[in-house]
Amino acid sequence: MPKNSASPLYDVLKPVFGDKIEARQELKGREALRVSPAALLEVVRHLKNSLGFDFLMDLSGADYSGYPGHQGDPLCVSYQLFGATTRARAWLKVYLPLEGAMVDSLSHEFACANWYERECWDMFGVHFKGHPNLKRLLLYEEFVGHPLRKDYPIMRMQPLIPMRNAVDYESVAVARRKEAEEASAPKAGN
């Protein structure tokens, strides 16, 4: 089982961040902290620079729409942080709405977040603000929808796409990137 640090992370972070740490969950002997999406980058930076969590073990999403007892926004992004020297683990979660789900990208803090976030965008449609190259990773650019969301029917057929050549493919990628940048621009100001 993962080693526990001297005091629970909640007690360490709550005095520093106050309401930005929204809640704590006890999950089979481990604590997961629910962080406000706006404060995620700040909390992760603090964990990385002051508390030694310098390693991103996993980043993934989950859709809690209809999950028994779940309150608040349904789309969850979970972060498994790890200390390369301390060997401690931290589990952070942010919850986002299904429409316009957006959270800060960690790709400037951890190099591996680049691909993890692309996968999360691919599967859940979470937009990561500040990601340098947010496009689909496992699926193809023309795929419609985000399949790991609960409202995506398992038997849905995808439209056939025409044969493409390298030039077309590049233009599609560029257009998608531009689209994503435009989508993030007005919301970044809010």
């Binding site: 999950l27 089979k28 999950y67 390369a84 190099a111 691909w115």
Partner: protein, 410 residues
Amino acid sequence: MPMDITQKIPQWKAQRDDGFDIEPLYINMGPSHPAMHGTVKMVLKLDGETVVNTEVEIGYLHRCFEKTVEQKTWNQAIPYTDRLNYVSPLINNMGYCMAVERLLGIQVPERTDYIRTIMCELSRIGDHLTCIGAGAMELGALTAFLYFMKARESSWQLIEEVTGARLTISYGRVGGVVRDLPANFSERWAWVKSQVEENLGEVSTLLNTNRIFIDRMKGVGIMPLDRCLSYGMTGPFARASGFDYDLRRDEPYFAYDRMKFEVPTRTGGDNWCRYEVRMEEIRQSVRIIDQALAQMPEGIVRVEDPQVSLPRKKEVYSNIEALMNHFKLLMPGHGIRPALGEVYAAVEGGNGELGFWLVSDGGDRPWRLRVRPPCFPIMSGVEELILGEQVADIVPVFGSVNMIGGELDR
């Protein structure tokens, strides 16, 4: 501090000294390419033979694993986990079962822990043999590949004798394993061990002082420790860069806390170090199996808990309670139903930390089953790893990454 990757790119000249314009050459390497074991595509931008930019494209083996298992019961997900890492399926099997057991809060019998340890190490030996053998073959050392395939064949024969299958083994069960080891397991293991050690010695002699092999491996594909940590790499790849982390020792599961073994590390971070770490790990795995067999207690191999284990067939046919129990475990909507909760559990896979994040809504199906594939962060670092190297060096670098499409694309 992130390394300045631009330093690795050779100075780009738009015009050569002799006045001729040059333009970069774009090459698609893959998705189906003889040196790309696994389907992956690399778009290379080349200046002569030197890689100046890369884009790695994955997803060619995507089989909707995570969406599919949400429609299956907890037990039905077990065969799907075999196909995650098809070189060491037992580790994936056992890792998933362990995660579900943590979610249920059940303790498996002690003998099961030892059986799982043995089978995982047997799988790890096969995994490393394949990685080194295939990597050496791509550099022209076909003999080393054949020796290692011979050794792997013996270990797979043993796996077949235990599980009944070579690849799609589905040997793990929630709460234990399907059946006990065969009676002659120790003698058979002695034979496999002799095969593995003999071939390991032969291949070491062939490769360790081989000028061509050394030149292609040493100093090629260097991953410095700071970048390795930033990329979240684990396993033999990270240990070759000096990140001394092994889940078997640091967060022991199964029977690893009772085993004596060393975690080999190197600091060079190049292909050669990764080769050395994997070779050494095979020897350590042999050591672990020897100890586990010597210490293994007698006993049952599946927990006697009617909530997770099927009753014995003899009892199903002879009394009503066992028959009801049987149907309660197999009917849709019944079966194994962990209470509302979540767990993240990880085991040391062939390539590093293999994590399972399970979310249960109290039903008979996983609400969410996330796999943290160990070669995913390593593959995301390949773009940086081959920058500034020659095209021919992509092959050994990619070989030492040990990409497994099944777990990478899921």
